[in-house]
Symmetry: D2
């Protein structure tokens, strides 16, 4: 951490700052310039609140040198983490396809989609039971009945299931769910994150609409600080000035998060673009960038499209897409590795 | 609502769409152009899911004409709402100052600040008990002890108190709190909003970091749909590309929200700028733009600044600022009204 | 175009609006609702200024249904355009690699890089002669001498050259340049665009840092309206709240622009990420999304890295990357086409 | 400037970096931590290209401590600059109102508006002759005839005139123009800025749609580095995710730019909001935040509103607004100063 002092700092306040830092075990290396003095802080600065330093009268600015996350930091865990989900896994050099409908609607629907995506190579089934909707007047999901239906589909197909939790009070319902999803709008619901830190299930943590990479990793850190190391990061599009796409898929998130962290990174191309016509191109791009997996919305019956979101693919499109993705994954994985070796 | 059809839409699908809409009581007025046909929908379209329409093969685009919020909509409630908070109120042509420390730290601190801001004209006391922090390693607030201390300060000064709730499970602790704050990160914590819709207390709803005006109003609608009409909207800065300020205070939110909705609008200049030096200028700007109130961080002791955020004012600065704000409020309120009359 | 009227519009003003529109050859189809009346306008609305309509007292909102660009619009030119650049081309189902140094520095440097990227499969040489720099104190490029050196490299290798113009007054110097680049900061330098509309050379038009797809296409329209149809669109990263990457590469721009327009689309992964370590992953992603080409910075001498930007690749990294990109291009092109056929 | 080195940096490369910096007259102060070594650079670092340092293999990150602008920097010019414009001035503790129509349309129009805004207290006349329009099919302004008409209005009313230049080739036409405006889209048209650095006229420099404060100040620096110190900065709204307003007026720009720089700061509330109904509230906010002036669009004839943009005020609204603004200016100016004195 580097502290930039204002010109001619008050001596008493400076001494008190230095003493306070030294008490915390920090070594201080000053660099005195003509207009500015900077203090280089050496030691474990992760517990020092950058806002507090910034609040001091004698401080002009504070710049962090070290990342504020530890458990999620690749520097301290150089090898890729592999996260087990039921009978399968995410990470470790394979491409995991998570697929299923936007919302669970009926036993027939979820089982039909589950069989279909399994046949196309998906190894995890997704489906919304609790649905975060902007409007209180929109369909809010089948809730506990939705989770029950997901379990039926799991029994029938053997696919592990992932579904979104929206509130701590719902946790009991997730007992037989294999992976718990935290949605973009809850990425900084810190009370929920703390709770999930004590749960013995893998967590799929979606990036918030306007969350930086560091904030996403700090939210992972909340879960990991509680002891649950099984976190999978998910890029799902960020909010920008461009409104043609619902969100802007930030494909750079894949190589950057994999550089900063050892956690697996998956991408949600369905919500990123918000239009099913974009899903194949965005899926290919995400895998080409090195994603460990994709989470894709697939609906079962074109004639019932009225009840599906605009971002869902038909099973036959998903099937041909899945084949391409595996080829790209093989080509790009070698590409990425060679680059790293340079 | 206007539905723009693709060129040469499939006749069967179009008939089925028309029938579906008519069953929902919607009248349809088609406009046939050379390249495009559009359908004007007349009736209560608030329950029609715009995503569902967009998902149809025959639909190119859907444009909403009417706002999707009802209870919060000024069109249906032309007069300004006034929200009662303990022995005072927000809205109705007066300027309400809400002030207090970032975090509650001790009885001595909160009572001292409370006395001081009351003397300067604040009528509501703020103070954080549950603190949403990006890092799990930062101070998370005194929690229930913090709420207890706020109540002590309330008893001593008579000021009603407002403090932030972070999770539904904390609600019991808020029994003696006069106004419940929903923070920016929880603006779309829909389960929490639904719960607060059934609470008999006014809610201070902060705009999310990347929430549009419409999304903020839809979150207010969640609370109001449950029966709780006492919602105050709060602009607290949005996330943009500019990083010099912590957030970008969107001062336009004040006249726009007051045009779209009848709910009172307050501004938080402390979090918007993230630097105390900016608070006076931003406060003046917000009041000049027509805000019904401000929520400002004030700390009590310059020598203890180490434990306060960089956005907090000293009591004496708050005192002189409060005087100016009242003058501006008087001048601008007449300005705004005259403009409206034109 | 759809015009949404305010409640109870003034009759005289409405009549005058209707007459004004009919004089422009527009047919008007009204839809009368309970709270709102909307007018559907049928005819060529591209010459109607949406801002003028919005300014009317009786108008609440105006929504455009048809895109405001014609020459660039795929609706009116369904087949992909192929743009000739010297002895090669961009578009038409092949992958074009444009490569070269950030700035032209010396004959030895530019010729060495040119030979190297040609050997790796690049078919167009890039290199900056006029450099747009944020600071007046930074190196501004070799200017006319830079263009002279590019021509030397072109003669030696046979590669056509592309370089950036920064002002209309520089045009004479571009006589032997094969393709003229318009940089992101000049995307809305309309006087320059008009001039280039009358030039008999292909234009590489980079998307502005905060330009929407529609604005990029309108800038292409400026050039095409002058008669120059040889425009190649270039995604080079947009400005968002995320600052870890210099810009956020918007990979969705590739499928979206190719859907909206018939013009070829290339991507600049070097400026998008701003870090050379990200270039391979972003390049793979762009090609996987269907880009017609890439423009990549390559520098010749690791020991001279001090004079190269952080986004440049070494020749050997570019060489192995180029091989991968061709494989991905083959796989994804078929993927994209199949999806379109569905 | 602080250079953060990678772990275990190559000794030869480090020596060569140190030598290179010392040759530029920079003193180096290293701070050696467990995981990281940082180099504090003391001296004039404004000529050091931060991108070059970042490109080095041994460098992890570079953080600038000192601002890269000199002439525009308040640190080196502590007193407020006052810029003379014809017979009046901007800055120095007064409020300057610049007003006039969006586009110059006719002698009668511009003279009528000029008389009217002068009567209301405006001291500079604005009006567009060259109009930057997103679409090539929109009205592009009267161009040289527009400038001729502005001069007629100037002669009649005595008001100095400001109008926008769009290309270096137009400069000769601006001989009798009192102040030259650089529009948001040209803020980084560096060739134009360099040219204006050698012109003996004040420049009104508008902030680009996605330009940071630092970039705006660097563009001012381009002009000032050429010798022209008469630059006025103009906030006119930035591009954000919110689309209800055309742009988001960043009112914080006023106190921040005035802190970082000694140059006067004016605000354009007409383009910021893009809706005339917002202009009064935004104008009051800008003045309350400490702006040295406003540039406001005023049109002359409500019945001719069809030819005016939606952001223009009627003269009578401008007149009553101007009265309020002067009161607010007096109140807030004292407010701001007192705060500074604390």
């Amino acid at each position: 951490m580097v502290v930039i002092l204002k010109e001619n700092p008050n001596k008493t306040q400076l001494d008190s700052l230095v003493k306070w830092l030294e008490n915390k075990g920090i070594e201080i290396h000053p660099t005195v310039g003509v207009h500015q003095t900077i203090l280089g802080l050496v030691g474990d600065t992760s517990a020092i609140d950058i806002d507090l330093l910034n609040a001091l009268d004698i401080v002009e600015d504070v710049k962090r040198i070290q990342e504020p996350y530890k458990n999620a930091n690749r520097k301290f865990h150089p090898t890729d983490s592999v996260v087990k989900v039921g009978n399968t896994q995410i990470g470790g050099g394979t491409l995991t396809l998570i697929a299923g409908p936007c919302s669970v609607e009926s036993e027939e629907q979820i089982c039909s989609v589950a069989r279909s995506v399994k046949a196309s190579g998906a190894t995890i089934l997704r489906g919304g039971a609790f649905k975060p909707r902007t409007s209180p007047y929109s369909f809010q999901g089948l809730r506990d009945e939705g989770i029950r239906l997901l379990k039926v589909a799991k029994e029938e197909t053997g696919l592990p299931i992932v579904t979104e939790i929206m509130d701590a009070s719902q946790l009991d319902l997730f007992e037989d769910v294999d992976m718990i999803q935290v949605g973009a709008r809850n990425m900084q619901n810190f009370e929920l994150l703390k709770l999930l830190g004590h749960v013995d299930k893998p967590i799929l943590l979606k990036r918030g609409l306007s969350a930086t990479y560091e904030e996403l990793l700090m939210s992972a850190e909340y879960i990991m600080a509680g002891g649950n190391m099984n976190v999978v990061l998910c890029e799902r599009g960020i909010r920008t000035f461009e409104t043609y796409t619902r969100n802007t898929m930030d494909v750079s998130a894949v190589p950057v998060l994999k550089k900063l962290s050892h956690l697996p990174v998956v991408v949600d191309p369905s919500h990123s673009g918000g239009r099913s016509a974009l899903v194949p191109a965005l899926s290919c791009a995400a895998v080409a960038a090195g994603a460990d997996g994709l989470i894709i919305e697939v609906h079962n019956d074109p004639s019932r499209a009225l009840c599906d979101g605009p971002q869902s693919l038909r099973p036959e499109v998903f099937d041909s897409l899945a084949k391409k993705l595996r080829v790209i994954s093989d080509v790009c994985r070698s590409s990425v590795n060679e680059e790293e070796a340079v």
